[in-house]
Symmetry: C2
Subunit: 309 residues, 2 copies
Amino acid sequence: MKKHIYIYSPSSAVRDKAAFKRGVKRLRALGHEVEIDEAALATHQRFAGDDATRVAAISRAAASGADVALISRGGYGLTRILDAIPYKAVAKAIHDGTEFVGLSDFTAFQNALLAKTGSVTWAGPAVGEDFGAEGGADDIMEACFDDLLGGQGEGTGWRMPARDVDGLAPLRGIHGAVLWGGNLCVLTSLLGTPYFPSIDKGVLFLEDVNEHPYRVERMLDQLRQAGVLARQKAVILGHFTGIRKVSHDRGFSMKTVAARLRELIKPPVLTGLPFGHVPTKVLLPVGAKVEVAADGRDVFMVWGHRHAH
Amino acid sequence: MKKHIYIYSPSSAVRDKAAFKRGVKRLRALGHEVEIDEAALATHQRFAGDDATRVAAISRAAASGADVALISRGGYGLTRILDAIPYKAVAKAIHDGTEFVGLSDFTAFQNALLAKTGSVTWAGPAVGEDFGAEGGADDIMEACFDDLLGGQGEGTGWRMPARDVDGLAPLRGIHGAVLWGGNLCVLTSLLGTPYFPSIDKGVLFLEDVNEHPYRVERMLDQLRQAGVLARQKAVILGHFTGIRKVSHDRGFSMKTVAARLRELIKPPVLTGLPFGHVPTKVLLPVGAKVEVAADGRDVFMVWGHRHAH
């Protein structure tokens, strides 16, 4: 199943060029035709080229006719250029069969595009950190990516940590809910702007990295106080990694943050979603309608059959 | 000029008890009657007592009849309890002559109170870090605090860094503009919620600590993309401290962040405000109407005579 994969850099400069090369090599070893954007390795300050360069790279990705437009990496850079992204051209490319895949800073692109056009993109891997991972790419991630390429990915399932199931009623009846979200910090940085999607009765998934639980809590509180969480059918937490506990936390942790969230909002809070800054990640269609069901520790999310190209 | 000062802890637990004691001692040495809230040194997880305890402490501060209600320290805790703060009681206390003073996490309290009641509070020192500073309290901070106590503080002035004056036209004609803002991160965490003040034609001042310039920029972009900055008569930057540069910044810095901001928004961006996580800080009336004028490097902000108690 040879596919055309277009690699571009909308965010931070690629610093780990060895990982980038490994990622490209891996994608080629999987049999794909890999096209690398001319500015994929550009550098301007922290960024993969200046703002105009990165906007042009997004345009080229949209015009590439590729099956998948895949980010080289996340980092920082997309919120700066939200006013300049060619949303209509990206939406047209998606309509014509290009799937946009990425994560982290890419959350800004995905949710802004959803707000502006309703188009579906995929929360998923990046070239360097995932396909170029030093120990080799993760099997589950690659299987999910392969499902996307083959038009076979119809859903995902996972087991919640036992401690989070206590008191959680079996969950039924979430149908046709829009899946959205991604990186909590990046998503929250859209709140109050025209780039924050207005999704009612959706399913909001969140992950983050290198954010202390007090910052995670403050961001969740902001979404809650803005009325966003209460309007959802479910909130799903992925991995929150890179947390450095300090002695004066004195029991304050992601565990207490999640427990408090559960007390404060009405929608069920599901946990354990295999997504975030971790090797084993599923691909998730941001903007697509999903069904969600949970029974005990088992959660299923189904987005149905999507068109294969 | 003996005044009654009420010290309470609405945010993080007081960890540096020596600094707290030095601060109390200093305020007493200045001749004041210092009253310490019963929960000022309480601890629950990271917090100065659980949420109910800190809300009750705010109520006691409001009921204290003190001339000044002063926070022991900032940290984190106020955004958690924004739904529970007794705004009306605080507004009444302010009307009856109690000035609420603080900074950092206190920004959430100040701007939420402004949004809910229009009451004026003071961006200014905390007990521990300022009055209890190891080398002694800062002279200018104490003089400004003294001005507040005596009802003498009618404004402030400072010199901008020479590099930021280039191309800045002399600034006149800002009258009756509401001064608001404080800590950028805390203020931004109110955006989209009912606690974010809706201020048109105001003067927005901002400072932050331990935030990399890319995060500062992302927050400024959020305020800009939300339309907040364009609606102001001026944006004033105080100190941004504790920044750890990294090698891959490659020239990206607070300097480039401020320069870009100046290009992107119409209101003038003034810099060098002596406020933030620095010893030498002025006191600023959040919610009061101010006049601002700038000529070359010199900036003046006047809020006129406020009632002395």
